[in-house]
């Protein structure tokens, strides 16, 4: 696409009467949407940025004052904030890694021709279609000590000594690990679907050529599937990282411990303690982390499309 010259812009504004009419109509039609977007989307973002420089405690009747960067320095100095960052990082890496691995192989499997393929393609969506909270409640039952499904199954398989009855969610490490498993179970289908869509666009001729050259299963995967699927993989990974980084709802089922994720901590600061200034600062810090990820993602996408 060529860059329009300045004269081009000016002349395009000086459209013939009909063109001008169209433009006016377009603007009028757009305005309500723009207004609503501005009011519900842009305005709160700007507002939270401004709030983050204020001391703004809603519930103790104290005065509102401008405090500059104090909220930011307080958040950076907050032990809980770093613990929650670490837990979020663990959750993100662990879940996205496993979802990618499992999702990739399920996609490969579902890409094969076999009886009932359509059925399996359909039911694999079920965990993903479930409400996060419902999923959390279900896994909370599975993790109950004593009569919970996990303890019972492990006892039946003799993987757990008969007398032992561990409390799976008694430490924040345990909670992070088991919440991750619940998330992997739920979100792997999403990964599978994205990768399956990518797989279907791969030309069969590449594989035929590879088979003629004597490539085996793993070689085909490594030299054809993975590189060809890269754009889809990158999209899938980035979308999941963005999702996993914001994890909140599933954790609230398992624990009242807000340091298990940055979003949980931010939520508590905003809507339980009503430190709106500090919560805004916290939200902006994590937004910047996510922005960095997005920049990396766009770069990778660009590099990828240049390669093609």
């Amino acid at each position: 696409m060529g860059k329009p010259s300045k004269a081009g812009i000016v002349s395009s504004l000086r459209l013939n009467p009909r063109g001008r009419k169209d433009l006016l109509l377009a603007v009028i039609l757009l305005l309500p949407t723009v207004y609503i977007l501005a009011k519900t989307f842009i305005y709160p973002i700007v507002q939270s940025l401004i709030w983050s420089f204020y001391k703004y405690n809603l519930m103790d009747g104290s005065d509102i004052e401008f405090v500059g960067l104090r909220n930011y320095t307080q958040m950076f100095g907050l032990h809980e904030f770093w613990i929650s960052m670490r837990n979020t990082a663990f959750f993100t890496v662990f879940t996205v890694g496993f979802e990618l691995l499992l999702g990739f192989f399920s996609a490969l499997l579902l890409n094969q021709m076999f009886r009932g393929r359509l059925f399996f393609r359909a039911i694999i969506i079920v965990p993903w279609a479930m409400l996060t909270l419902v999923n959390g409640l279900m896994w909370n039952w599975i993790y109950q000590p004593g009569y919970g499904a996990m303890t019972v199954v492990l006892h039946k398989l003799h993987l757990l000594p008969a007398g032992s009855n561990p409390v799976w969610l008694s430490s924040s490490q345990g909670i992070m690990f088991f919440a991750s498993i619940a998330d992997i179970w739920k979100m792997t289908p999403y990964m599978t679907l994205l990768l399956l869509a990518g797989l279907q666009s791969l030309p069969a001729s590449l594989y035929e050529a590879a088979v003629i050259d004597g490539a085996g299963f793993w070689k085909k995967i490594w030299h054809i599937t993975v590189p060809q699927l890269m754009p889809a993989i990158i999209v899938a990974i980035v979308l999941r990282i963005l999702g996993a980084f914001r994890v909140y709802d599933i954790l609230t089922v398992f624990t009242g411990d807000p340091t298990t994720s940055v979003s949980y901590l931010t939520y508590n600061y905003a809507f339980r303690y009503f430190y709106l200034g500090r919560a805004s600062a916290m939200a902006w810090i994590s937004t910047i982390f996510i922005l960095i990820l997005i920049v990396i993602y766009i770069r990778m996408l660009k590099k990828n499309s240049e390669l093609e």
Partner: protein, 464 residues
Amino acid sequence: MQRKFGKLFVTALLASVTLAGCSPAPQKPSQSTPAAGGADAKKNDAGGGSKTDTSGGGANALAWDKTDDPSLKSQTLTALVVDNDGTITKMMKRFTEDTGIPLNVVAVDYNSLYTKITTAALSNSSDIDLVEMDTIWAGQFLSGNIVEDLTNVVPQDYQKQFTQSSLSSVMYGGKLAAMPYFSSTKHFYWNKDLLKKAGYDAPPKTWTEFREVSKKLTHDGVYASGWSWKQAEGLNCDFVGMVYSFGGQFFDQNKNFNANSPGAVKALQYMSDLINVDKTVDPASLQWTEDDVKNAFEAGKIAMMSNWEGMYPELNDPSKSKVVGKTDVGLLPGEGNVVSASVTGSEGISIMKTSKHKQAALAFLKWMSSAKFQKPNFTERGTYPVLQSLYNDADVKKADETNTIDKILAQFQYGQNRPNGPGYVEWADILSAKVFEAIAGHQAPQAALDEAQKKIEEAIKKAK
């Protein structure tokens, strides 16, 4: 083309941001009324004071003796209450039959109640007139200007009819934040069968006895006790009761918050010993809420528990319970000079500051706190009344088939409130996190409470 639209878009955006709100900088909640309520805001601001109490001004003044005004019948009230099975909604609808004032009940579960109230207050929405208020929110709701201060609205002699515990739980700093709604504390439930088998005819009276009894009760997959020790408010409830029974307190002489008093450390040490040293507590307690504890007790998996009232008649319902007729309820154990101590969970109903029907809302509070609601709420739903007189009422006695009302009432005398200051929700989160560390065996009780104290002090300092 694209570029041009881009420019247009940006211009339109800037224009609409300007239109959307004058300034995104925060303003005092009592003054910042959204554009829609502009007229009202102006009226209130006319007083000129930056922090004046607007409730007393003009049309908003609440009059206790004018609740029968026929003009109120044209106003529809909306109440936000916890109602898990629809029975409360049905009971409250009788208000309309009695007074002719239409009432709309919005039922929520307890865990989303707090957020629903605070978001309604934050958005200055006048949709909700009445809200159920847990005792621990009293300070916050008053300081945060969320609810109407009823201190001078409800006459003194009317307030005197309430039981002391239900009245004190809706007060903060001598101010009345809500009208008492129901009475509640935690109680001690035990399985008579299991105790008898272990050689006991009576339940333990002190925590020392409790520990001895527990050791004998724990065998063959049955644990002596189970608790709601999941890291949540339920854990704080058990901890607070325990602290008071070990002679501890949450405030020092200067009214400063004190999490690590010697009594508190003793209490936490005791809790930690029960689960980590004696191992007489079902380890699943660390993942349990009050309902899970009840289920375990009904299944006969634990011999003793501390829980709220309202366990009967379910404990005697054969379709749900395996311990029909085998259980009893009484005083929670004490220690030393303390006969018993229990945390209160009484609640009230408040009038939202943003309500446009405050006078009608007051009429509801009057009706709700009278025998017209309180009596059937016990006889039909088993919820304990806030009116002292009802505890000697013939109908109430008759409805009490399990003969537990006197035992429940006895515990009310030993109720202790949680420290319900404006910062309670944050302190409580810190406290439950640290108490959990100790009972999960990750930290020594003294160290855990010292750290909790330090963090709460920091939180109080930062909030200033």
